[in-house]
C-alpha cells in the first residue's frame, strides 16, 4: 500500500498540502479515523446548539436521532462488507440484527432474570450473530449471486417468523420488554431515557472502533481476497485464495457488526419484538449501502447517516415546509408515508444512473463503468454486449465469467 503511495507522490516534486494530508491519512489510517470521528463528534455536539438545527428541535432529541443513526451506520458498514467488499448480495441482513438484539434481551431483562455488564455483552451479542452468520454462510457457499440473494431473503424471513411463533420462549408479538439499559460508564455517566447524549457518546465510540477494524480488514490480505472473489471467484480460487473461508469470513464480519448494532439497539429501546426486524430493515440498510457507495466504508457510513436523518427528521420538516406553503394538492401529503416509495425509487434511479453511489470507491466506479470504457460511446447493442463480455473475461463483472448459456 505505502509503495504505491510513494510511487504516486514522488515524481511530482513537492506535493501539494492536500496530497500530503491524503498521504498522511492513508499511512496512519487508524489515527486518521480517530481524528475524523472526533471532529465529526464535536461537530454533531455543536450543530444542535446553533441554527438551523436548534430551530427545528431541542438538543436532546437531536442527540437521540444521532445515536439511533449510529445503529444504522453499524448495520450499513456491516452489510457493506458482505455486499460491497465481497460482492455477496444479502437481502436478509436484518436477521443478524434481530439475533444480536434478542441475545441481549435474553441476558439482560426481567424475562431472563439476569443482568450482565453491557460492554462484554456487546462482544457476546456480536459473537452470537457471527456464529449465525457462519451458519447461514456455510450452506450458501456454492450458490451463485441471485440464488444467494433469495436464500438470504428466506433466512431474513425465517428468523422473525421463528421469534414470532416460538412464543413460549420469545413472548411472540409482544416481544421481550423491560430490557436493562447499559450500566453507568466512567466519563459518560448514567444511561437513562433522559440522557440521549450518553448513548450518543457511546455510539461514537462503538462506530469508531468498528470503523478502524473494518478499514484494517479491508486493507489487509482478507480485504484483497474479498475484492478478488467479488471480481472473479474462479480466478481468485486459481490464485490460491480459499474462497470458502473468505466468504464465510465476510458473512461472519457482516453479522458481527449487525450483532453490535442489535445489542446497542435493544439496550436503548429496552424492548425487542419480531416486527422490528422485517424485510423493510434489510431493504433500507441495502439502500443506505448503495446510496453511500458500495465498497467505500466512509461513504456507506455517511450514506446511512443521511438516509436515517432524512427518514426521521427530513420528512417531518418537509411536511412542515409544505404545510406552510399552503399548496392545495401537496398540503395534506404526509411524506413519511411515502418514504419507502421514495427510497425504492432512489434505489432504481441510482442503479440506472449512478450505480457506484454518491461517494464511490475508485475501484468500484471503474468496475461499474468498464463496459462503457471498453465499448466506447457506441450504442449498438452487440457492441455493448461484446464490451460486457470482454469486461467479464477481464474479470471485472462479477458472475459474468460463468455466463456461458447452459
Amino acid at each position: 500500500m505505502s509503495a504505491t503511495i510513494a510511487a504516486r507522490t514522488s515524481p511530482a516534486g513537492p506535493p501539494s498540502p492536500r496530497a500530503r494530508i491524503e498521504d498522511l491519512a492513508t499511512r496512519h489510517r487508524s489515527s486518521a479515523i480517530v481524528v475524523g470521528m472526533l471532529i465529526i463528534a464535536v461537530g454533531l455536539i455543536v450543530l444542535p446548539k446553533i441554527p438551523p438545527l436548534s430551530l427545528i428541535d431541542r438538543e436532546d432529541p437531536w442527540y437521540d436521532t444521532f445515536a439511533n443513526a449510529g445503529v444504522y451506520i453499524l448495520l450499513a458498514m456491516g452489510l457493506n462488507v458482505v455486499v460491497g467488499l465481497a460482492g455477496l448480495l444479502d437481502l436478509g441482513y436484518a436477521a443478524f440484527f434481530a439475533i444480536g438484539s434478542y441475545t441481549y434481551a435474553y441476558s439482560n431483562s426481567p424475562f431472563a432474570g439476569t443482568d450482565f455488564p453491557f460492554l462484554p455483552m456487546l462482544l457476546v451479542g456480536a459473537s452470537v450473530a457471527a456464529v449465525f452468520g457462519i451458519a447461514l454462510g456455510a450452506p450458501t457457499l456454492r450458490l451463485r449471486g441471485d440464488y444467494l440473494a433469495i436464500m438470504t431473503l428466506g433466512f431474513g424471513e425465517i428468523v422473525p417468523i421463528v421469534f414470532l411463533n416460538l412464543d413460549t420462549w420469545t413472548l411472540g408479538t409482544n416481544g421481550i420488554g423491560g430490557i436493562y439499559r447499559p450500566d453507568p460508564l466512567p466519563l459518560i455517566g448514567e444511561f437513562t431515557p433522559l440522557t440521549p447524549f450518553a448513548y450518543f457518546i457511546l455510539m461514537v465510540g462503538i462506530v469508531t472502533v468498528a470503523m478502524i477494524l473494518l478499514y484494517r480488514m479491508q486493507d489487509s490480505r482478507i480485504g484483497r481476497a474479498w475484492n478478488a472473489i467479488r471480481e472473479d471467484e474462479l480466478a481468485a480460487a486459481a490464485n490460491g485464495i480459499n474462497t470458502v473461508t473468505t466468504k464465510l469470513l465476510a458473512f461472519a464480519i457482516g453479522a458481527t457488526t449487525a450483532g453490535l448494532a442489535g445489542v446497542f439497539n435493544a439496550s436503548k429501546l429496552t424492548i425487542v419484538s419480531p416486527e422490528q426486524f422485517g424485510f423493510a430493515v434489510s431493504f433500507i440498510v441495502l439502500a443506505m449501502v448503495i446510496l453511500g457507495g458500495m465498497g467505500n466504508i466512509w461513504g456507506v457510513a455517511v450514506g446511512a447517516f443521511i438516509v436515517y436523518e432524512i427518514q426521521v427528521q427530513g420528512f417531518k420538516q418537509l411536511n412542515k415546509v409544505v404545510e406552510g406553503l399552503a399548496i392545495p394538492v401537496l398540503k395534506d401529503v404526509n411524506f413519511t408515508d411515502y418514504q419507502y416509495l421514495l427510497f425504492g425509487g432512489a434505489l432504481v434511479l441510482m442503479m440506472l444512473f449512478r450505480p457506484e453511489g454518491l461517494f464511490p470507491s475508485q475501484r468500484r466506479r471503474r468496475e461499474l463503468h468498464i463496459a462503457e470504457e471498453l465499448a466506447g460511446p457506441a450504442d449498438d447493442e452487440i457492441d455493448v454486449a461484446a464490451g460486457a463480455a470482454m469486461a467479464g473475461s477481464l474479470g471485472a463483472t462479477p458472475g459474468s465469467g460463468e455466463d456461458q448459456p447452459g
Binding site: D146, L153, L341, G344, L352, G387, G399, P405
Partner: protein, 374 residues
C-alpha cells in the same frame, strides 16, 4: 438455462401428455392418502393416545372414524390443488423471465398483487357488494371481464417496467438489475399501500357457494374452476412456447441471445413478450386469488411471490413444466402443514424446502445440470 419444452412430433407428445397425466393423478392420490393418514395420526394424538399407539392407528385404522378423515383429506387436497395452481401461475412468470434474461424479477410477486387489486376494482366497481352471483351469464361476464381488464393492464405494466429499468441494465454487472428489481418491488408495494391502505381490502366473493358431494366430502366448485382455468392456461402456454413462431423465438433467445439475434430474432421484442405473458399469467393468478380468498392486501405479493419463486426453483428455474410442478408441490406442502394445524409454520417450511433444494439440487427437480452455475 433454457425454457425447455419438448418439441417432439405429435405421436410422442401425446404419449408425453398421457404420461404426465398419469404421474399427476398418482401424485395427487399419494398426497390424498398421506394427508388422510396424517390427519388420523393428528386426531389420535389430540385424543390423547401415545405416539406409538397413534402411529399404529394411523397405519391400521380404516373404520368409520378413519373414513371421516378421508372426506376431510379429499377437501384439503382440492384446496391444495387450487392454491398450488395460483402459485404455479405466478411461478411461470419468474421462471420465464429467469430463463430468458437470468434475472430474478423480485417485482413479479407485486405484479400479481396489483392484478388482484385490479380485479377487485373491476368486480367491485360493477357489483359494489359482496353477494354471490348465481346467474351464470353474469358470473361469466364478471370473471371474464375481470380477466380481460387486469390481464392487459398488468401485462403491459410488466413490459413497461422491463423497458424502463431492466433493459438499460441488461449488460450491467449482475447485482445492478437484481437490486433494481428489489427497488421496483418496493415501489409497487408502496403504491398499493398508499392507494389502498395497510389493512386487508375485501374482494367481492361473487362466486356462489356451490358444492359437489363426492366421497362424503363437499367439494367447492370454485376450487375446481380455479384448478381447471389455471391448467388450461398452462397448457396453452406450453403449446404457445412449443409450437408457435414467437414461442420458438423465446426458446432461441433463452438459449443464446446473440446467436438468435444473428438469425433475425428481435431480442428486445421477444423479451418484452416474455414479460407480457408473465404479467398476464400473474394477473390471472391475482383475479382467482380475489375470488378464492376474498381479500387483497398490499404485501400479498411479497409472501406469495417468495413462495412462487421457491416453486420455480424447486421445479428447475427456466423450466415451464418445472414451475407448474413446483407450484403444486408448494401448494401441497403448505396445505399439509395447515391441515395438521401448523398454518403459521407453513412459510418456515417452504423456506426450508427452498434451502434444501438449493443445497442439494440447485437445478431443481426438472432442471438440467449445467456446469457450476447456481
Amino acid at each position: 438455462m433454457t425454457v425447455t419444452v419438448s418439441t417432439g412430433a405429435s405421436s410422442s407428445s401425446f404419449a408425453r401428455a398421457l404420461r404426465i397425466t398419469v404421474y399427476a393423478i398418482v401424485a395427487i392420490l399419494i398426497y390424498l392418502i398421506v394427508l388422510w393418514r396424517a390427519l388420523v395420526l393428528a386426531g389420535e394424538l389430540r385424543a390423547g393416545s401415545t405416539l406409538l399407539n397413534a402411529i399404529v392407528q394411523a397405519l391400521t385404522r380404516f373404520d368409520a372414524v378413519g373414513n371421516e378423515f378421508l372426506a376431510q383429506a379429499l377437501q384439503q387436497t382440492v384446496n391444495a390443488l387450487s392454491i398450488g395452481a395460483i402459485y404455479a401461475l405466478i411461478a411461470l412468470g419468474y421462471t420465464m423471465v429467469y430463463g430468458i434474461i437470468e434475472l430474478i424479477n423480485f417485482a413479479h410477486g407485486d405484479i400479481f398483487m396489483l392484478g388482484a387489486f385490479l380485479s377487485v376494482v373491476f368486480i367491485g366497481g360493477i357489483m359494489g357488494h359482496n353477494e354471490a352471483v348465481t346467474d351464470i351469464a353474469l358470473l361469466t361476464f364478471l370473471i371474464g371481464g375481470a380477466l380481460l381488464f387486469s390481464m392487459p393492464i398488468i401485462g403491459l405494466l410488466n413490459v413497461g417496467i422491463e423497458r424502463l429499468v431492466y433493459r438499460p441494465l441488461r449488460n450491467a454487472p449482475r447485482l445492478a438489475p437484481l437490486i433494481t428489481a428489489v427497488g421496483v418491488s418496493f415501489i409497487l408495494q408502496n403504491v398499493a399501500l398508499t392507494v389502498a391502505g395497510s389493512g386487508d381490502r375485501r374482494a367481492p366473493q361473487i362466486f356462489p357457494d356451490w358444492k359437489i358431494a363426492f366421497g362424503g366430502a363437499q367439494i367447492s366448485v370454485l376450487l375446481i374452476f380455479i384448478f381447471i382455468l389455471s391448467l388450461a392456461l398452462m397448457l396453452a402456454l406450453q403449446a404457445f412456447v412449443a409450437r408457435t413462431r414467437l414461442g420458438r423465438a423465446m426458446r432461441a433467445t433463452a438459449q443464446d441471445r446473440e446467436a438468435s439475434a444473428l438469425m433475425g430474432v428481435d431480442a428486445n421484442q421477444t423479451i418484452a413478450l416474455t414479460f407480457l405473458i408473465g404479467g398476464m399469467l400473474a394477473a390471472v393468478a391475482g383475479v382467482v386469488w380475489g375470488l378464492r380468498f376474498g381479500y387483497v392486501k398490499f404485501d400479498l405479493g411479497f409472501n406469495s411471490g417468495l413462495k412462487a419463486f421457491t416453486a420455480a426453483v424447486l421445479g428447475g428455474i427456466g423450466n415451464i413444466t418445472g414451475a407448474v410442478l413446483g407450484g403444486f408441490i408448494i401448494g401441497f406442502i403448505e396445505n399439509l402443514s395447515a391441515s395438521l394445524g401448523y398454518a403459521r409454520w407453513s412459510e418456515f417450511l417452504v423456506f426450508m424446502v427452498l434451502t434444501f433444494v438449493l443445497l442439494f439440487r440447485p437445478t431443481g427437480i426438472l432442471g438440467q445440470h449445467s456446469g457450476d452455475r447456481a
